[in-house]
Amino acid sequence: MSKFRAIPENYAPKNKRQKINLERKQSMKNKSIWIAGWAAPVMIGMLLWLAGSRNVSANDQPAAGSAAVKIDNFVFGPQTMTVPVGTTVTWTNSDDIPHTAVSTDGVFKSKVMDTDEKFSYTFTKAGTYPYYCTIHPKMTGQIVVK
């Protein structure tokens, strides 16, 4: 793998220039080992990441009829979510403070969700459904049903 010629074990530099060359070669060799040392795990990591992100996008745009909105740090995530007609969206509150998810147009209204509590609603008609937390009205989101 190394493009460098092997250095004989008994090789001793005869002059200053040779000594410098030797040091350079050794340092290059070390560098290539070092690169191989980190490149492999990084590539494996990237492959894992790619595989993982495929899972994430599968969750974001479900074909199976369910989707999840996570409430975390006073934010609905994702803030805008697009789902096919018939999808059941489930909100889960991950905060230490209670929240609600209430349709601005009165289409759906969750009970108060304390920590780790959930609320689900099935969207049977296409349209855009803006909603907010009635306790913390700065928290807004929307479900786009296509």
């Binding site: 740090n73 006073f74 934010v75 905060d95 230490d96 403070i97 209670p98 601005t104 009970k111 108060v112 304390d114 920590t115 803006p130 909603y131 907010y132 009635t134 306790i135 913390h136 009205p137 700065k138 807004t140």
Partner: protein
């Protein structure tokens, strides 16, 4: 000693300068009020104290009456930020009972409970029943109006109030107004008083002498502290326009679980500490959620607010005390 005091005042003025309030304006306010607020640091906790005459040994001297504000007791909360909020509320009540000058009454500026559960209101009642101050005035926080539009809150604490639970009363020449800015909140907005309540307020203060000291209290701050976190009230400016002709207006709020003060013209704004858990300073955390501090630090960031009224200067001196130093 006077030098030390002067240092504190200078430091406070410098801080205020950094906050965008100009020094001359601040001094003018102080001259008008006859007293003012000094922030000192004790155990890392800012304390506001009147620097005219109601600090130190002379505390309470020349004070005509005092009342105490408590806020955000969140009974029912049991997360790591404070696993025992009933105990810290009890500690606050003990502290009030131990005050040398007994307050005439207590004002609770909302978020009595965490989830508006009957059992949570019951626990709160149980603790407050033991307080030596028998008169307690309430306004609801958003946590007290979950699910039932505040019906239960009004049933328990809102007898004789108007609309969503607002009311006013007079005490020894001071006019107190309890406002509700946590009902019918609109998507994307902050706290809201609403048209009906604003009309009532305008009518309530109409015809009163401009020399009547006014105290407004509500849960969410009636000044905009941090819109990103909803720390303000959308229509508070209109409410304040009705009281701007008065010589002394004090606005007491809770909701943000930390002390903040501002003097604007004749209006002093003040937010109180919580008796339950602290919240982060504006913008210093991803969200306004409960802030966990080491257990031995907790009682330093919880506390009560003692408000002293001096008739001669028609001024109110606000003193915040943590549960422990």
């Amino acid at each position: 000693m006077p030098d030390k005091k002067q240092d504190v005042i200078d430091q406070r003025l410098q801080d205020l300068n950094n906050d965008g309030v100009d020094r001359r304006g601040f001094l003018k306010c102080m001259a008008w009020a006859g007293t003012g607020l000094v922030w000192t640091l004790s155990g890392g906790i800012p304390l506001s104290q009147a620097f005219a005459k109601s600090s130190g040994k002379d505390a309470g001297k020349g004070v005509d009456f005092s009342f105490v504000q408590i806020s955000d007791s969140h009974i029912g909360f049991s997360k790591p930020a404070n696993p025992d909020v009933t105990l810290t509320l009890q500690t606050a009540i003990n502290k009030i009972d131990a005050m040398p000058a007994k307050p005439d009454f207590i004002i609770h500026t909302g978020d009595l409970t965490q989830l508006s559960k009957p059992s949570e209101f019951d626990t709160l009642d149980q603790v407050l029943k033991g307080a030596s101050a028998k008169q307690i005035y309430f306004v609801p926080g958003e946590h007290d109006m979950l699910s039932d539009n505040g019906e239960q809150f009004l049933e328990r604490y809102g007898k004789g109030t108007k609309g969503t639970g607002y009311y006013s009363f007079d005490h020894k020449g001071v006019h107190f107004v309890g406002l509700v800015n946590v009902a019918n909140l609109k998507a994307g907005g902050m706290g809201s008083l609403g048209h009906e309540q604003l009309e009532w307020l305008e009518d309530d203060v109409r015809g009163r002498s401009a020399s009547t000291p006014i105290v407004l209290f509500a849960h969410i701050p009636l000044w905009t502290i941090y819109p990103d976190w909803g720390w303000g009230t959308d229509d508070s400016e209109q409410a304040l326009s009705y009281v701007k002709r008065f010589g002394s207006v004090t606005v007491l709020n809770g909701h943000i679980h930390q002390i903040m003060q501002k003097v604007e013209g004749k209006v002093s704004f003040h937010t109180a500490m919580s008796t339950a858990f602290p919240q982060p300073a504006p913008g210093t955390a991803p969200s306004a959620g409960p802030m966990k501090v080491p257990a031995d630090q907790l009682s330093r960031v919880l506390g009560i607010t003692d408000v002293n009224y001096v008739v001669s200067g028609r001024s109110l001196a606000v003193i915040d005390s943590p549960l422990a130093r």
